[in-house]
């Protein structure tokens, strides 16, 4: 760009908020002599309509490539200026708002000289940044209006049913032969107290009556997944055939497995010691024997090996306890627990109701777990009651072990295929708080117990929420990659590689937090390439590239270098 005077500068007095500390005349003098500055105006309030119009009219200078505004911070009024200018057709990329109020006049009000010097530095830095800002490469994404749902449990089914009702074609893949996931294993579902058929029938009907809106692949196995938000290619085998499909978004709803107790509490050795799911089988078969039942909570979980709470087991045991009472109202049912996890209104009410029905609760301590007694059959359970500090012996015909949900054995493989992280327990990691179903890979959503153990009702809700997120992505039509962001309407910049300079060392690949960089063979040599859809412009790659061959056009090394120079030049 050489000595082109290409930047228009505007300084804001901010009705004295800036000008009474900073000597704007001096700033103007210093900037006018700057080789990059084409013109300079000082206004009273750039953020108000009256000046905005002047500003916009002055900008219609074909030779000016950028605007540098010395005003307040972006977060105070700067956003407003940029938005207003954008409405007048001036791209925000060409507007640099340099904060000389919050970041200068207000915090240096006692030091007008220094503040003036600093303002000059800051504005020169702004000019340097604006002059060296390049427009990033852009790709357009035309999202495929189809969604891939992995797993046909409650979460997956509700996601699929919702999407199909929105007119989106869904590919529903499941490892099992029939849909329903874990719900197939239980007789009735808590806290709604309905059968699993009733629970999902409406949704299943939606899916299977959708006239091809849903392609359901039972007993299928995932082979590979490629691509990024808006356009994934997924291949899998179903029966003997292999399929390859293109979808715009992926919903992972693989659920979790039920942990077996591994010999804990003599399970497997002593007749009458069951897991919750084995009890369900008896409920389903209608063959429940014995009317003294003791449930033991937190079996194989909330311990050193699995230091998490599986969240659903308490409610499951409450449900089963009530079912025992349904069969035999005279039954004696105990729940031995460490804490009853029934947060909220619905579950708390469920707990109260169970208590009212006569289920008895007894708290044990982690370091003094119950002991199951008996020779051939269960005879009783001995437990230290933490509330009364007494040892108690409870007669029992059945002992039911409440075991947690744990990640599936192939969770690692699926995580790898879709670029997901897993938490310390092996569940899929999602973004936190405001984006609880989104993952580090844009366009891939996780819901249900694959994310964290949940009851059917939450799984359904999460499935719907994931469907909404997927719909958001694919319904927007063609859009620029820079618009594909979880956190904002527009990404900061997208990385660009100079292939001539790239040595293919792979530092960027190793460091990229979005898996956006990869190495590809170009003319016989490995070169880094950036997936612009995944790239979020954080700049990690830039700072580890040994020779600067990867850059953020919006914030190049040149720009930072020139900004540093601008700091050094004055007064030295």
């Amino acid at each position: 760009m050489g000595n082109d005077r290409s930047i228009r500068c505007f300084l804001c007095r901010c009705h004295g908020e800036i000008s009474r500390v900073i000597d704007l005349d001096e700033v103007a003098r210093a900037l006018k002599s700057h080789p990059g500055v084409r013109s300079l105006d000082v206004r009273n309030s750039l953020c108000l309509e009256e000046d905005m119009d002047v500003l916009a009219s002055r900008v219609e200078d074909p030779d000016a490539t950028g605007l540098v505004l010395g005003a307040c911070s972006l977060y105070a009024r700067g956003d407003r200026i940029r938005t207003a200018l954008e409405e007048k057709g001036i791209s925000p990329d060409t507007v640099e708002v340099v904060d000389i109020r919050e970041g200068c006049s207000w915090i240096h009000h006692g030091q007008p000289r220094e503040a003036t010097t600093k303002a000059i530095d800051l504005l020169r830095m702004g000019v340097a940044l604006q002059r060296h800002r390049e427009n990033p490469d852009e790709v357009m994404v035309d999202p495929v209006r189809e969604v891939f749902v992995l797993g046909a449990g409650p979460a997956g089914i509700s996601a699929a049913a919702s999407l199909v009702r929105l007119g989106v074609r869904v590919h529903l893949l499941d490892r099992a032969k029939s849909p329903g996931g874990l719900l197939n294993l239980v007789k009735r579902i808590a806290p709604e107290d309905v059968t699993s058929d009733e629970y999902l029938s409406q949704k299943q009907q939606t899916i299977f009556a959708s006239n091809g809106g849903v392609s359901h692949y039972p007993g299928a196995k995932l082979i590979s997944a490629h691509g990024s938000a808006g356009d994934f290619t997924i291949s899998f085998s179903s029966g003997k055939t292999e399929h390859a499909i293109r979808v715009g978004a992926v919903i992972v709803a693989t659920g979790a497995k039920i942990l077996m107790p591994d010999g804990l509490y003599r399970h497997g050795n002593l007749e009458g010691v069951l897991t919750g799911i084995e009890l369900e089988r008896r409920f389903k078969a209608g063959q429940l024997e014995g009317n003294r039942v003791v449930f033991i909570q937190c079996v194989g979980v909330r311990d050193r090996k699995r230091p998490y709470c599986s969240a659903i087991c308490c409610i499951v045991s409450l449900k089963q306890a009530c079912q025992v009472l349904d069969v035999d109202p005279q039954a004696e049912v105990f729940v031995l627990h460490r804490d009853i996890m029934c947060p909220g209104s619905v579950l708390e009410k469920y707990y109260r109701d169970a208590m009212a029905r006569g289920v008895r609760f007894l708290r044990y301590e982690q370091d003094r777990p119950p002991v199951v007694l008996g020779d051939e059959n269960v005879d009783s359970v001995e437990v230290y009651d933490a509330l009364t500090s007494e040892m108690r012996r409870i007669k029992a015909d059945l002992v039911v072990l409440s075991t947690p949900l744990a990640p599936h054995d192939d969770a690692g493989r699926i995580a790898e295929l879709f670029g997901l992280n897993r938490d310390e327990h092996g569940f899929y990691e999602v973004r936190t708080l405001m984006h609880p179903l989104e993952t580090k890979r844009e366009g891939v959503f996780v819901c249900g117990s694959a994310r964290w153990p949940v009851l059917g009702r939450s799984a359904v809700l999460q499935g719907e929420a994931a469907a909404m997120k997927a719909y958001e992505l694919i319904s927007r039509g063609t859009l620029a990659a820079s618009r594909l962001s979880t956190y904002r309407e527009r990404k900061f910049s997208l990385a660009r590689v100079d292939h001539e300079a790239c040595t293919g060392c792979g530092n960027c690949v190793a460091v990229c937090p979005y898996d956006a960089c990869s190495l590809e063979k170009k003319e016989g040599a490995l070169k880094s390439t950036v997936n612009l859809i995944r790239c979020s412009g954080c700049g990690s790659c830039v700072s580890v590239c040994p020779n600067g061959s990867i850059q953020l056009p919006g914030h190049s090394a040149m720009a930072i270098g020139e900004m540093l120079k601008a700091v050094c030049e004055q007064g030295s």
Partner: protein
């Protein structure tokens, strides 16, 4: 059999069995040692194993220009071995096309290089000698201790001799970038002497912070005797103590600077001043 003879036998066998197409080593040319690519077993008698000469980068260039099926043997020391590992990690050479003939350095050589691992991972002949801890060297201590002012003076005295010949960069077995940041005005002002020497050397040193294989090539090459390798010592110590990471030793392990924290690793952090909510990792 002397160490040289053992190596000779190995090299000949490799070439005879066609397990490699050539072996890179040193030979005497008019009594001066020079790198030589031996492709005929009958030429191998000219091979010498002294002095220490870094051949990794040369091997990389041979492999880059040779046909894809060309396989190369390399007579190498510990540092060359590590350099090969680092270059392979950075996709600069294909480790499968290389057969290393590792030999250990002598104790004297190790002392000279302040080398803590003066032997390759696999040795075809000779005996390992123990390496040395760089900080135990008197000269190194002189450069790496003392007040900031003393250090500043000492390094200013050293670096100001630099004539910016780029020898340190060129000899470095890890430096492969073209173009190189050190030739870019943005980072190092060309023609600026001497102040910009500092950024030249610091940028160069930092670029190697997690890859330097401590071959001492830079120090050896420097025409004005700047002990350049000493710039690396403290960073290398930090990597080792915080992450148990040493460049070139583990072909599978990615530099901890590029990866997420692994379990059991140190964090390398002093608690920053602005800490109220600091709680590592998630």
């Amino acid at each position: 059999m002397s160490l040289r003879e053992e190596v000779l036998t190995r090299v000949k066998a490799l070439l005879k069995d066609r397990r490699v197409d050539g072996v890179l080593g040193l030979s005497l040319f008019e009594k001066e040692p020079v790198p030589c690519l031996f492709e005929d077993p009958f030429d191998v008698d000219a091979l010498v194993i002294e002095p220490k000469w870094l051949l990794a980068k040369l091997a990389m260039n041979i492999l880059k220009t040779a046909p894809q099926e060309y396989r190369l043997g390399l007579v190498c020391r510990g540092c060359d071995d590590r350099a090969v590992t680092e270059l392979a990690k950075r996709n600069q050479l294909d480790r499968n096309r290389l057969t290393l003939l590792g030999i250990p350095c002598t104790a004297e050589q190790a002392r000279k290089c302040l080398c803590s691992t003066p032997y390759p991972r696999e040795i075809v002949a000779g005996e390992r000698v123990e390496g040395m801890y760089p900080m135990n060297d008197e000269q190194a201590q002189l450069f790496l201790t003392g007040s900031m002012e003393e250090r500043m003076k000492r390094w200013a005295r050293e670096l100001n001799r630099c004539i910016k010949c780029y020898g340190c960069r060129n000899v470095c077995p890890i430096c492969v970038c073209i173009p190189c940041k050190l030739e870019d005005d943005l980072w190092v002002k060309r023609g600026h002497i001497p102040a910009d020497m500092v950024s030249y050397h610091l940028i160069r040193a930092f670029h190697l912070s997690d890859t330097c294989v401590s071959c001492a090539g830079c120090t050896d090459t420097c025409p004005v005797n700047i002990p350049l390798m000493l710039l690396q010592v403290s960073m290398r110590e930090t990597l080792k103590s915080q992450y148990a990471y040493e460049p070139g030793l583990d072909p599978e392990r990615v530099s901890p600077v590029l990866t997420e924290q692994e379990k059991g690793e140190g964090t390398l952090f002093q608690e920053p001043a602005w800490i109220d909510s600091l709680r590592g990792g998630s």
